[in-house]
């Protein structure tokens, strides 16, 4: 499977994602934000970091970059798109995913390992069991997902909420909501389910030597 990782000035998780993809035998290419062509890809990853220094709003400038025009075209053709952390913020700013990511409710940058409840009924999570609890790392300042309550209801009905912050037993409530996100949302899909945006970093949990392998399920789901 062919993958592409987009690199912006200020991306800092691009190589971690590339390592995870290569571990799973993806044929990966890195593409610079000023490029105007994408290599043939089955998966495009927009990695975490601080593209353009988070100027204006996180992801706002990257969403208008040359390469993003191509990413949007590929997304509309049905290519799989994964946005992690700043990548999620960029997808939100392009409008490919709905809603907004506000500053964390406690106004602090949060770097923590958190439990997540997985909805596996999508292309990105099918190797997990439904409602499986996994542990991934979050590291962000603007991860407080906001949208209308009607939209949350729609996403629940269509099973578009892929990840929710929870405790290790799978309880989803305010006590286990690190950043103030509506409905404890940590990751969402578009209606066609070919685009996933998530604040937690699956690429950081792909080796037992570091922490755990809970992120591997996501990459292996995409692969098969």
């Amino acid at each position: 499977m062919r993958s592409t990782v987009i690199v912006f000035p200020g991306s800092n998780c691009d190589r971690d994602i590339a390592v995870a993809l290569k571990k799973l035998q993806f044929k990966n290419e890195m593409v610079w934000h000023k490029d105007s062509e994408l290599p043939k890809s089955d998966l495009i990853v927009i990695p975490g970091g601080f593209s353009y220094g988070d100027y204006l709003r996180s992801g706002a400038i990257a969403a208008k970059s040359t390469i993003l025009k191509e990413v949007i075209k590929s997304a509309e053709r049905g290519c799989l798109i994964l946005g992690v952390c700043n990548g999620f913020q960029i997808l939100i700013e392009t409008g490919l995913l709905k809603g907004a990511l506000l500053r964390n409710k406690n106004l602090k940058f949060i770097n923590d390992d958190v439990y997540l409840k997985v909805n596996n009924k999508n292309r990105f999570c099918k190797k997990y069991s439904n409602n499986q609890i996994i542990k991934l790392n979050i590291a962000h300042n603007e991860g407080n997902y906001f949208t209308s309550s009607d939209h949350v209801k729609n996403m629940q009905d269509q099973e578009l909420i892929a990840f929710q912050y929870s405790n290790n037993k799978g309880d989803v409530n305010e006590d286990y909501n690190p950043n103030g996100s509506m409905a404890n949302i940590a990751g969402i899909l578009n209606e066609k389910k070919n685009i996933l945006g998530m604040m937690p970093h699956p690429e950081r949990m792909t080796d037992k030597l570091i922490v755990n392998e809970d992120g591997l399920g996501l990459f292996s789901s995409i692969l098969n």
Binding site: L102, K105, F146
Partner: protein
């Protein structure tokens, strides 16, 4: 022509920074203070003298990408 654009969070969007500033000022003794909303301010210069055209151009800049209309409101003033 010079234009000022002010962007603030919509009324029903929580503005934690504004809240912190509000509480700090209240703690400093400003008891009559009832609310603060923090925002962004842009000063834009455009080489065009027709007010209508300028307003239209700045309006489209605000819609994309200066403001995020899901969470923010904007105000345009010719200065």
């Amino acid at each position: 022509m010079k234009v000022a654009v002010t962007i603030t969070l919509k009324k029903d969007v929580l503005d934690p920074q504004g809240k912190v500033v509000l509480h700090t000022l209240q703690n400093m003794g400003m008891k009559t203070l009832s609310n603060i909303r923090q925002g962004k301010y842009f000063e834009i210069e455009i080489e065009e003298t027709n007010q209508e055209i300028v307003k239209k151009d700045v309006d489209s800049m605000c819609k994309k990408p200066l403001a995020n209309l899901i969470i923010e409101d904007y105000k345009i003033d010719i200065i």
